[in-house]
Symmetry: C2
Subunit: 175 residues, 2 copies
């Protein structure tokens, strides 16, 4: 569910670097983003169809003599707006850090958006709030299994928070 959204937004992110056709988008993903994201060719075409239907990208055919025509996609103003909204907002769940937040961070750097620190700070706020809630619930627990469960949630959240702070430090250093 959040996967659908982040896959679409990630494609918009690639198009922020300039118009591209499906095949190019796929090779971009498989060379630059393959460490944290997989996307099949047919999914690319399916996603592009949906994005076009929703008016966030538009296409133009480019004829070639000895090859099938390329369908070159570019962002519409709505698409650009949507992308910028996506990239400036933190993810809701710790589990979404692994792919979706990482993708945001990737584009912030790739596109030199200068919003790194605010994005990271916003994400820290969200996770800190999560952690607070978890710690509160933890106190009311009697069951051993639930204690173990909440301790897992807390540990994953804490680890993500520490990592975010480390990120922030290493990025501040760069500028």
């Amino acid at each position: 569910m959040s996967f659908k959204v982040s896959a679409e937004n990630a494609l918009l992110g690639i198009l922020m670097t300039g118009p591209k056709h499906g095949y190019e988008l796929h090779s971009y993903v498989s060379t630059k983003m393959n460490q944290f994201w997989d996307l099949s060719m047919s999914q690319v075409y399916a996603l592009l169809k949906r994005l076009e239907k929703n008016g966030v990208v538009e296409s133009q055919e480019e004829w070639q003599e000895r090859r099938p025509a390329k369908k070159i996609f570019s962002l519409t103003p709505r698409g650009k707006e949507r992308f910028l909204g996506w990239i400036s907002s933190p993810v809701e769940h710790v589990r979404d850090v692994r792919i979706e937040f990482l993708a945001k961070l990737f584009f912030v750097r790739e596109l030199h958006l200068k919003e790194e620190l605010t994005l990271i700070d916003k994400q820290i706020d969200v996770l800190q709030e999560k952690l607070r809630v978890i710690e509160n619930l933890k106190e009311k627990i009697t069951d051993e299994f639930q204690r173990v469960l909440y301790s897992f949630k807390a540990s994953q959240t804490t680890a993500a928070l520490d990592w975010l702070k480390e990120c922030k430090a290493s990025f501040s250093y760069e500028y």
Copy 2:
């Protein structure tokens, strides 16, 4: 994809406590496992249909005067075998700890299977190997984004490992 498998296996796990009909299975999940797992009524019926088709559960109708007939499901030998195979094997990825491993742990305790420590140990081995691989890859990295990415993977894995050790300690203490 591992979700499908774990949902099915979790239902088998509930049936290990005795035969049950769909409605009962659903309320079991929503009262006892709701902290880490959601399952809609219609999914329950869909899953049961599939499980029966695959010969791991079988059903018997129980007629009631003033209600729709209950369809009571129980494990076949193959179903029991499949469940025991599932519960004694660790999950492959850190991301699967959150639901699938927790579900295994839940059933180990619920069914008093006495395999807790071996399951936890096996899981520790798997994640320790993952961590080793991550640490090796980390050394060969030049790109700043990749460093950050691997540091995230390492931190989530380390946190899960620490949690597993804590689990083990708290369970050993119980026996």
